[in-house]
Point group: C2
Amino acid sequence: MARRTKAEAAATREALLDAAEEVFLEKGVARTSLEQIARHADMTRGAIYWHFRNKADLFQAMLQRVRMPFQELVEEIGDPSLAERPLEAIRLACLKGFERLEQPRYRRVHAILIHHCEVFGEIDPLAMQNEMAEEACGALIDYCGCAARLGQLRPGLDPGVAGELLQAMLGGLFHDWLRNHEQFSILERGTLLLDTQLTLMRAAPSG
Amino acid sequence: MARRTKAEAAATREALLDAAEEVFLEKGVARTSLEQIARHADMTRGAIYWHFRNKADLFQAMLQRVRMPFQELVEEIGDPSLAERPLEAIRLACLKGFERLEQPRYRRVHAILIHHCEVFGEIDPLAMQNEMAEEACGALIDYCGCAARLGQLRPGLDPGVAGELLQAMLGGLFHDWLRNHEQFSILERGTLLLDTQLTLMRAAPSG
DNA sequence: GCTTTTACATACAACCTTGTATGGATGGCG
DNA sequence: CGCCATCCATACAAGGTTGTATGTAAAAGC
């Protein structure tokens, strides 16, 4: 076969990652062979072993395309007035996350990480999930602590507990939706649940 | 080898299931062979293929030992006065569930189902999780609806949303804890989060 | 324009796992 | 006490997957 140009090679690399997403999601990571991924992209295993060292390397490259830390979501909003409205910062960051998750690539890859893979090779999905969860939980607790200091949190509600409550609720919603995304829209239900929860946790407007 | 008595045969069956739990949890379902399970129980694959048809059959038998529907938890409490205090029914059922999850067998098997297996053979773990989630969510919404009719839910809080909120929060807590149970006690944090959430959702005591 | 490197396809050896077939010794039962 | 079904070990055939080695034709670089 003819050698491809640099742009074509980059395209096949992306095509391989696309194919991996689809096959991983459909059959699970463990049950899909590199042969199946290659054929789904109209390539052979040779292409995969050229672009990636092995399945674990391919998997990590796939994840690399959809990283979405909570803090970055807040920063992307770029509203400096959010420093004085931490609960609103949480709200907007979550809404931005919901919207992004509705893009097929983000949805698929997160669904694979959460529901369609086990430990294999040097890959430990649970460790990755732990990192994601702790990053989000830490940020949520920080913002709740900030809200408490500003008197925007309901009196008697511990900011640490409030943060863990939000993290658990968002995580549960996340898992449920990724399990079958056709059951409901994460943007719609997420907005509803989050707004309800924030209303419950907000301090009653003084005066 | 000598044939075992009926009691011994039943014991080896249980031993095989115990071994499966441990190896599945450690290495993931897909990456463990029947050979590894058998050796971990000081048996051979012959024993497995005698007691079970294949890996999927073994897996289902393992799950069968830890079924725990939400409704059954409520019924096991057996307090008729709970009909008038639906939010308390939710609370006690969850506490009972937390306690049961701290038993190694319940914790291990649920961790396997949620975090350490993919689709394989005729087994679809996501479908099983969906059933569990929907059963719990349905029950929670029912109890919240009952609470609303009794005036025990905060005015303006939709009982459907309240139920989904509880289900999401409990599910998120469940997933987080199963991911690494050494990080916190589900009984302690669960009690704290649940009580906080129920306090937020309860109607203010009238008069 | 020639050489080198790239971007794959193809071929091959090794391993692991599964399912089944077979064997064998004993417990249960008439 | 004799027979049969049970409970499990062992052996065997078949297939699937991985990693690597090799081939190759064109793009890149000088």
